[in-house]
């Protein structure tokens, strides 16, 4: 066990999943540690910036891993697989509620509050971030996912195409138009 505990942090995500299938709790904890914040943020931004919803979805996703770890097929890249599952959950949620109609555009003012000693520049940047994500909410579901996976997760276009199950060319064009649209909207608000 001493060797196992020592090496658990060195295991790849795929090896951790194999250990989870065998009931290794430390492997599960390690995997949760690696992905909880990333997935939470993905859900948070994909599902209308709702913390409670993001927390619920994060929990549901890891419960899927606990209850059906065999869903992950060895040979796949785990990060791509887990974001595919997360994206499918988001799509289902979009279907269940017409999320784009009930999105609350009012950002929580606390979430971008800077430190007490922040400078004016920081405030300007945070205002830009606030406005940017407010505009992102109006983008199509796939465009939003592409932006998150590309700029937050640093996924390659090929990985994004696997997650979203779309051709690489489509990903490229949607990414391009998403950036154009964001730029236009932010320019209209004189933020660029």
């Amino acid at each position: 066990m001493i060797f196992r505990k020592k090496n658990i942090a060195r295991l790849t995500d795929e090896e951790l999943m194999a250990a989870i299938k065998n009931g290794d709790q430390s492997a599960f904890s390690e995997l949760y540690e690696r992905f909880n914040q990333r997935l939470y943020y993905y859900f948070f931004r994909m599902l209308g910036n709702d913390k409670e919803v993001a927390n619920d979805f994060l929990q549901d996703l890891f419960l899927k891993i606990i209850n059906k770890p065999e869903l992950f097929k060895p040979g796949y890249k785990f990060s791509s697989w887990i974001f595919t599952v997360a994206h499918n959950m988001c799509k289902n949620e979009y279907r269940n509620r017409e999320v784009r109609k009930i999105v609350n555009n009012d950002e929580n003012p606390d979430q971008f509050l800077a430190d007490e000693n922040s400078f004016e520049e920081t405030l300007k940047k945070e205002h830009l971030i606030t406005q940017l994500f407010a505009e992102i909410e109006y983008l199509a579901e796939d465009q939003k996912a592409i932006l998150l996976l590309k700029y937050k997760e640093n996924f390659s276009l090929k990985e994004i195409s696997e997650v979203l199950e779309l051709p690489v060319g489509t990903i490229k064009s949607r990414l391009y138009y998403a950036r154009i649209e964001l730029t236009k909207k932010l320019a209209n608000k004189s933020l660029l």
């Binding site: 709790q25 943020y41 913390k51 932006l147």
Partner: protein, 193 residues
């Protein structure tokens, strides 16, 4: 930031800066770990506690340590050589010369599933024992090897072959034409004298 379009670098920076402010509820971790504990208790297969040890043992890590351990073992094995001066007496069992192997008839493996053979004229060579159904074991002493028969010797009565016998006996018997194809030992065998 460029006026025409937001750059990739700028977008990455914005997303990462934004993400740094969002964390999931810590209670989720506890709930999930509890759920995992409940689930794992139902697993039929449990983790192999030796897996880590074996993984370490057969990996390339800590090679100097492993080499040192092997060296110590080798050192002990070399130091512990004992010079045995007394010659070891070992009986020759040259089966290469035994071109006609002693044939144990396994077709009659009864009783007790024992291989059987018969000694047709053994009793004659031993005098009055023909009618005497002695329960004593009959021992044949060809030279310095003993071939022990465990059942009563009687004419054409199968007896259980010894659990082990020395091939050199058989070699001697064969040379003396003492064993025929029927696995019998004739009375005139000098070995039975």
């Amino acid at each position: 930031m460029k006026n025409d379009m937001i750059s990739d670098k700028e977008l990455s920076s914005i997303f990462n800066q934004d993400a740094a402010n969002h964390f999931p509820d810590e209670a989720i971790r506890e709930r999930l770990e509890y759920a995992f504990m409940i689930k794992s208790s139902r697993y039929k297969t449990t983790q192999n506690s030796f897996l880590g040890l074996f993984a370490w043992l057969f990996s390339w890590s800590n090679l100097p340590l492993k080499a040192a351990m092997v060296s110590v073992v080798l050192l002990f094995s070399l130091v512990n050589i004992k010079n045995v001066e007394t010659p070891i007496l070992q009986q020759m069992q040259d089966t290469t010369l035994n071109t006609m192997p002693y044939h144990i008839d396994s077709s009659q493996t009864s009783p007790f599933f024992a291989d059987t053979c018969s000694i047709s004229k053994l009793i004659k060579s031993n005098g009055n024992k023909e009618t005497k159904h002695s329960e004593e074991e009959i021992s044949i002493h060809p030279g310095f090897v003993t071939m022990q028969l465990s059942l009563i010797a009687d004419k054409n009565v199968p007896f259980s072959a010894p659990a082990h016998f020395v091939l050199s006996d058989l070699e001697i018997l064969r040379k003396q034409r003492s064993i025929d194809s029927g696995n019998t030992i004739p009375a005139e065998s000098p070995l039975l004298a």
